[in-house]
């Protein structure tokens, strides 16, 4: 059994030590992607299935790069081509895959709890690549890795998550991860897009983005799903940008330089303006780079490898 257990379902419940270990393993693995030959043999012979029941571009590609750079064999299953559309249940799909002798499943699913459900029923390691509005642990980890490289220790640092927290799995994973590392966490957005019980999760709430900018060391700006307007959560995207959008004018009033994160894909001109997204404080592309390293670290650790061997794995590529 690995230091993470069999599966990575969420950041909730992970200890500070476990999270720190993942980040410490991920850090040196970044170097692999910088080399001419971007491959180490660490997971050679392992079979990983990327089981995506929901459209995803960057997360799926990021996982696939991570798997391939660790020399795992990968198969991608997307809903459009799977038998799920023929009425097969999730558990049957998984058991059929497992009958073909696989080692790990990376699952993205629109229903909260689907990865937990799967993990309880199959032998393979299960990695949650985002489930409904529950968690997206590897996104949370890559955000932590990115924040750590800019802010150093996150102990006491102030991070505000801005936008549609109600429907965001990224927000939940961030809240648990940041709190485990000792950061102060706040959320900011229209009350209609924050869970009623949000303060029970141990976060502060700001009603205005201006207040969040005054308070924070870093802002993690969430994507606003365009359908939220149709469902009656906000009146219009235009007003959302005017009241809650992260604009350069607002950012210029910050008492210090803020680190700006966004999990992507961005709605430019809605939750974030282009001059902020492309500006000097944005670390958005660095998040994407770190995503591959964090996923390599998770695969590496779940496969049962010892954290201390990460450096050796890196050295093999030299």
């Amino acid at each position: 059994m690995s230091l993470l257990g069999k599966d990575l379902i969420g950041i909730e419940g992970l200890t500070r030590e476990q999270i720190t270990t993942i980040l410490d393993v991920a850090d040196p693995l970044k170097a692999i992607s910088e080399r001419a030959i971007k491959k180490v043999p660490t997971l050679r012979g392992m079979t990983v299935v990327n089981l995506f029941f929901e459209a995803s571009t960057r997360t799926r590609i990021s996982f696939e790069f991570a798997e391939k750079r660790m020399s795992a064999d990968t198969v991608n299953v997307a809903t459009a081509v799977s038998s799920v559309s023929k009425g097969e249940t999730l558990v049957d799909t998984a058991r059929n895959l497992e009958a073909m002798k696989i080692d790990m499943v990376v699952i993205r699913h629109p229903a909260s709890g689907a990865p937990r459900f799967l993990a309880d029923r199959i032998e393979s390691n299960v990695i949650n690549a985002g489930d409904g509005t529950h968690e997206h642990p590897t996104q949370g980890l890559l955000d932590l890795l990115t924040l750590r490289s800019h802010l150093g220790s996150l102990e006491g640092k102030r991070i505000c998550i801005c936008g549609d927290v109600l429907h965001s799995r990224v927000a939940r994973s961030n809240i648990w991860g940041l709190k485990a590392l000792g950061a102060q966490v706040a959320v900011c957005g229209p009350r209609s897009l924050l869970p009623g019980a949000i303060t029970d999760l141990g976060v502060e709430v700001f009603g205005r983005i201006e207040e969040a900018i005054q308070w924070a060391d870093a802002l993690n700006v969430l994507r606003l799903q365009l359908e939220r307007m149709e469902r009656g959560y906000i009146p219009s995207l235009r007003e959302y940008n005017r009241v809650f959008g992260l604009t350069r004018a607002r950012l210029e009033r910050a008492p210090k330089d803020l680190v700006i994160l966004h999990p992507g894909p961005m709605n430019r001109g809605v939750e974030i303006d282009s001059d902020v997204a492309d500006g000097p404080h944005s670390v958005i592309l660095e998040q994407v780079t770190n995503g591959v390293a964090v996923r390599m670290a998770v695969l590496y650790l779940l496969a049962g490898n010892a954290p201390a061997l990460a450096d050796a794995a890196k050295a093999e590529s030299a």
Partner: protein, 429 residues
């Protein structure tokens, strides 16, 4: 004609006549022939030793789903009625959300006949309030009552149109039946899979706020006030609902209410791990709500206990939480759950529990039974309030296995169930 039955030496608990004493009970020809003291039975009487057991008027569950017609794969009237007697219930009222909907005399008569043919618990059909439970056109209450319906309900679907609910409350008065409403504002509950609160925020499941129920509770109470009709409120789950019913009763409104065994014993924490056997509608709420429901039951604001027995196929619950159907089976665990959570914790006495599981259901729904008075029907439940047992879903008589109590130890179990003077369930053979 069955032989006379003499139940000897049990603790006779019959709140309908203020009785709580050790004594004998004699049943002859489907009627209570004598009760109390030492009774010398007639020759040929079958004697059942009830020493150490409670002998009570038969338990009645006015809220079950027996799935027939339509979903005989998950339950039939016969298997449901068998589960009922195994759990100590001598009568159940079957909700009309069948396929087709029980919204006419023919289907009501069918359900009633299936119950009679099964020969376990008495099965009283509900009729729907509206045709097809669509909330638009009143179903034919008069014909359904003539065919055996004891109440009307669109359970599972609230009657959203206040005019239709008003006319139902008026029209039902001719037939002397309660209008039984599932309280839920659909627009607020839409897409919700559990109680809206801390746990839903953590699990990332869409929540159903308490107010989705409470807003409809007050609407129902006010419409009963307007019409003078009898509204019976299904499966209350929140503190606010208890407060509103208390207010309604204070105003003299003809409002009665029920609570499920799971709502007085479990909280939304039971959903942790995405446990689909803790998914039901209304959802499990907070500890504060559970306490208010227990108190409401104790002080009489909530009249009676039910199960909302809702069998589902194993495969239907074995899936993603949001997609799993609502409901759990309850007939075979309710008595144990109620004794364990209400009697053992000092919230209700045994006579109060019998009152809320037998006398009051009979009174509120105008059903036979709920009493052991001489001359009344001989429906009797014998149970051991101290007997500890482990819930084994595989041993259920119900086809449903979907229970959150599997593997748990409960105290209190029916040992003998008698319907119409006939022993239809005997735990120890």
């Amino acid at each position: 004609m069955t032989a006379p039955l003499l139940l000897t030496g049990g603790r006779l608990v019959d709140p309908s006549q203020g009785l709580d004493a050790v004594g004998d009970l004699l049943l002859i020809d489907g009627k209570v022939a004598a009760i109390g003291g030492a009774i010398a039975g007639p020759d040929g009487a079958r004697r059942i030793d009830c020493a150490g057991q409670v002998v009570a008027p038969g338990l009645i569950d006015v809220h079950v789903h027996l799935r027939e017609p339509g979903r005989e794969d998950v339950e039939t009237v016969a298997t449901g009625a068998h589960a009922a007697v195994a759990g100590g219930f001598t009568a159940v009222a079957a909700m009309p959300n069948t396929r087709p909907v029980t919204d006419n005399q023919a289907t009501v008569g069918f359900v009633k006949r299936q119950g009679e043919a099964a020969g376990f618990a008495r099965v009283y059909p509900y009729g729907a309030i509206t045709v097809g439970q669509m909330g638009e056109t009143l179903a034919e209450f008069g014909e359904m009552v003539a065919a055996g319906a004891v109440a009307v309900s669109d359970d599972g679907k609230p009657v959203e149109n206040a005019h239709i609910l008003r006319t139902a409350l008026e029209y039902a008065q001719t037939f002397g039946i309660p209008v039984v409403e599932h309280c839920e504002v659909m627009a607020l509950a839409h897409g919700g899979a559990m109680h809206e609160g801390t746990v839903s925020a953590r699990l990332g499941l869409k929540g159903i706020p308490a107010e989705a129920e409470e807003i409809d509770v007050i609407r129902c109470i006010l419409l009963a006030k307007l019409t003078g009709g009898h509204i019976h409120l299904c499966h209350l789950s929140t503190k606010g609902s208890v407060d509103l019913v208390r207010w309604g009763k204070d105003q003299g409104v003809r409002v009665t209410a029920e609570v499920c065994s799971h709502h007085i014993s479990l909280t939304h924490e039971a959903v942790e791990g995405y446990n689909t056997n803790a998914k039901m509608n209304p959802p499990l709420r907070t500890a504060r709500d559970v306490e208010a429901l227990q108190q409401g039951l104790k002080d009489g604001t909530i009249d009676l206990l039910v199960t909302d027995h809702a069998p589902h196929h194993y495969d239907e619950k074995e899936r993603e939480f949001a997609d799993a159907p609502n409901g759990i089976v309850g007939l075979e665990t309710a008595l144990g759950v109620n004794v364990t959570w209400l009697v053992d914790r000092g919230i209700l006495t045994i006579p109060q529990l019998v009152d809320r599981m037998s006398c009051l259901p009979a009174k509120v729904f105008h059903l036979p039974g709920g009493t052991l008075a001489t001359g009344s029907i001989s429906d009797v439940t014998v149970f051991d309030p101290t007997r500890a047992w482990v819930v084994d879903p595989a041993a259920f008589k119900s086809k449903g296995r979907n229970t959150p109590y599997g593997g748990q130890t409960l105290r209190g179990r029916a040992t003998c169930t008698i319907v119409g003077g006939r022993v239809v369930h005997s735990l120890d053979g």
